[in-house]
Symmetry: D2
């Protein structure tokens, strides 16, 4: 099987680097283009990137010469790690040129005709692509993955929602420095400190959640009727977003039933077979003080969400804690798994 | 006015040291006794304590010889920084010997006849002392202050509850290392990590809250009818507990009304005049990203709670963030303010 | 005594804010002008600064309108917290306009005719000002304080050098985040990490040391003949630079003699009387594990250097550890103390 | 080839856990016994250990029942992660019972007849075992690896010493929390702090260095004549000891020559073939700001030491920075590599 040629838009940032690291040996995809800001045009990636991944940068990739953001119809997939403001104009241009833009940016996540996908949860939402292509007259397309906190949260909530009907959720997040990109948050702001604010994050969590857990019907997504409130905090950890939640359901499960449901959660067979899919999307850890950010962030190569402390709640039905890797399950890994889903389901051809 | 002779029970720990630091120059109280474990009997405090306060340990106090835990009727007030299990037996013995035990321990906080006091909020609950002394035939007594997280939270909630009738609260905490005492949490557990568990803490917050906001009536406390759920987390900061909450009220206030109410909050005139009372128990900071733990923990010499991000909530009526110093407003400072209240209101004499 | 009108050049950065905080209630100086980049011209300081000091920003200062960098002959002293590249052109322009520039920038520290002053150590080097003014035909002048690490180090070394003749020094530093200014080092680079590199820092330490400990003679400074090697490291602490050193002397002192010398160290009577001078420039702490950055950084309001672990050395004569506040003793506090020295010694009048 | 049955003495601590993690799938060794304190006798390892390794604890090992410290002649190798005071009595008892004790403890490192081995550096020192067995009438033996800081340092110094004759070394260390074991340093002592003291560490570095770099001759080790001074610091990082050094040689190399020598460094063919030997014991990184603790600690699965900033020194000939994993290259990995060397060289049979 030939590997699909892919580009990475915004290749030097924190998410861009994670894309490079995860795609370096990918069985289905081959990096052929790395895009950065115009001032770096023509320079070698290895000279321009301030590489921060623990694995070393492969020589072949280090020598790729950076290009500008002009659409390149010779790649089939463009992974977008662009800022939302830039993505707003760039992603449609690439889609129009015939490229499938698999985007980690927030620009089009909530657009009516853009699938917002977590492969284990809502692969059927990919069907929106037909409407998108028809409506916008694109040969390519845009498929988005959720915000990093949403990704961790919704992976834990989806099986519970399906089984018991989630109605209300009070959510608090404790998010890592790497979620803000690089350079991101100054060390003077984060050393020994908590910042209870991340611009736009609470709204993203509350909105994206209902779209992902919504139902595809008649070429549109009917959002799930879940009342959610998010309270976000940046904490001094490197990688790993923790989310704690208090949940009310249509049919309240016991903690044991909830844990059994979480443990049984699997994607479709197609999804289970994707190269980036972890053995299980959720692991339940019953030790009293788990998950912990530093100890559990890398489970399933960063694609597994660890859930713990599933317990009764005086206010709602259940409380829990979930932890996932914000740059993998919450960003680059999510986009790559989406691209795998798109290719495996034949949607690349349009 | 002569200074009241006081003892500190558990003087070498983190809270004990904070008691020493705050009482070193106190206008009303004079440290005459420092109590530690029996193995240290007779040794100088300065030699035994691993002093961690930023202020230097006064020589006069360094030279005090540690005593064992046997009740000493010659002190009028004993500040208790004991572990709950030890406090359980020791505090009644001192109270029986005629000493007013002003306790930071959890052992008797929820006892029917023990006042659980925050001077700005429920000084009238001190009236329980009469019943306590009569019922237990003590000449002394026990008066408790709340758990460190509860103290921060309830200071922010009390004015809102009075004005608007708090009914439901989903609470998340982000708590500092010093809340676990010394040595407390190993650095290997907390560096670059979040631990979403503190034994017994969630129950304490949920219970103590309703007692403090309850009503004194007919020699007992009728708890406030507030449904609260707490989700606690230990984060890698030194001092300062942050609490975020989503709140529902009988009569929902606008964020502006809530902030005005918080800003106007004052204790009684008697309480405002106590040496440890801050200028205002609550400060509201409207900057988008405040309060922050490291920047705001020391407001009002650690006795002021900073509230920020008062905003609408999709789930309940309001969301907010509060921050306070867990060793001052949440422990030693709270107990000292309680002792001042007891003395100022004439309750020392019994 | 009327207060001297002063300006702060670069008022919004980390050192600039420390200048504002330390000058807010200064008995001798009055802030009348705050200078920032041209894009902020005319805006209120309080709106533009991202205030990070623990003390609150005084209203009167918050309302000062920022100006551009054009020299203002109506101030007598301009405190410079500029980057070296900007300072290079700006500081001479102000000096020419008749202002005494008291600079924390590195631009002119090693210039032959610029005094590089630590008041307790080499106040006589101020005499260079005469040559500077004559040679450059300035009515004002430039006086510099050392680099932040050098300031801590040289305060500990000066008394030892005078008493025992320092000849060789192997120095390692462990420097705080705030030494890099704001935003400075990204949190992703510093959380749980050590960076063994700070551009230009090692050379600054090695050079500035010999100038400060040099001798004024015949209108020039003869550098001290000390062979020094510095190895610098950035560590994840907020404030406080630690320096460890192994030292060889002409006449090797015992650790006890070295500690006695350090303890006896005082500035001249004039210097001791300056408002910013600490009670003692050096405190010796003999506890085995002190100084520690977080616990000792604020001694003497940040102007005292704490020395510990004075012990024999298998390689040279002595080893030691010193700690000081990089923004106070190492930057803004140092410059203010220099300005006080200049005013007290009559050098303002030129 | 059958796997050699091994025991781990002190299996629940930080180093003990690292032994378990590294031996879980070892091709040559099979864990058959886990030893802990007597109070845990008979309990399952999985229930007693507070597992902190990132890899999950294999079930088969979790179910091993802990035993007491009595020597067990049925194992051939006992890996010792004991505290020095306990190791002092226990290790000889096991050796006498016929077991090869491969020890990370400091108790016998400097004993005249105990080999202190780093396989790439001084495998010939193993010959001391003959004298040890003859003199002590043991069928087993004791072989030690160096202190964690020494291990990192000496791996970087050995090739330079051989090529250029190291004579003087001023060393500073920046050591991780995990070097103090578990629970080790309280978080209140290490968050945002530096502690410039680790009991006995400086002496260990200075002494062990000269033994490892010494010469085996006539059944004894003639220590290398190197004058070394160590200044140690504990910094708030999880894993990874950094050492910076200023070095003088008999024949001063240029930085380029030093780097070439470091890059060419290899163990003997026998050593290169050991399962735990990294591809290269030293990697040189020429980027200006490397090595960095968090980014480089895991190179070579923690067995490679990264050296950087090789540069001229105003005091001696060269300066450099080295970084290694204190629990792998500095403890458990080192001991396992030693055991591999012992088995491969036939020394197990005695």
């Amino acid at each position: 099987m030939t590997r699909t040629p892919v580009a990475i838009l915004g290749a030097t940032g924190a998410v861009g680097q994670k894309f490079v690291a995860l795609l370096a040996d990918h069985p289905w995809f081959e990096i052929v283009q790395l895009v950065a800001s115009a001032t770096r045009d023509g320079r070698c990636y290895g000279d321009e990137v301030r590489w921060r991944e623990p694995t070393s940068l492969p020589d072949a990739i280090a020598q790729i010469r950076l290009t500008t953001i002009a659409p390149n119809p010779e790649v089939q997939i463009a992974f977008s790690a662009l800022d939302a403001s830039i993505a707003h104009d760039v992603e449609p241009a690439w889609a129009e040129a015939g490229v499938m833009v698999v985007s980690n940016a927030s620009a089009y996540r909530m657009a009516d005709d853009v699938p917002l996908i977590v492969p284990e949860i809502n692969p059927d939402h990919l069907a929106l692509l037909d409407r998108q292509r028809a409506g916008r007259m694109w040969r390519g397309g845009i498929v988005a993955n959720p915000n990093c906190s949403t990704a961790v949260l919704v992976t834990a909530l989806a099986p519970l929602h399906r089984a018991f009907g989630l109605q209300r959720a009070a959510i608090a997040t404790l998010q890592a420095a790497s979620g803000a990109g690089y350079p991101g948050v100054p060390s003077l702001d984060l050393l020994g400190n908590v910042i209870p604010y991340i611009g736009g994050e609470e709204e993203k969590i509350e909105r994206e959640l209902t779209k992902i857990l919504g139902t595809y019907s008649d070429a549109r997504i009917v959002p799930a009727e879940i009342l959610a409130s998010a309270m976000v905090h940046r904490v001094p950890v490197v990688d790993g977003h923790m989310v704690s939640g208090s949940l009310a359901f249509a049919e309240a499960p016991s903690p044991e039933a909830a844990m059994a449901t979480l443990r049984a959660f699997r994607g479709s067979e197609l999804v289970q077979g994707l190269p980036s899919s972890p053995r299980t999307p959720v692991e339940v850890d019953e030790r009293a003080d788990r998950p912990q950010t530093r100890l559990d962030v890398d489970r399933g190569q960063g694609m597994t969400v660890t859930v713990g402390r599933v317990r009764a709640c005086p206010l709602h039905d259940l409380r829990f804690v979930a932890l996932g890797h914000n740059l993998v399950r919450g960003a680059a890994g999510a986009a790559i798994q989406n691209a795998e889903l798109i290719r495996a389901s034949g949607a690349l051809e349009g």
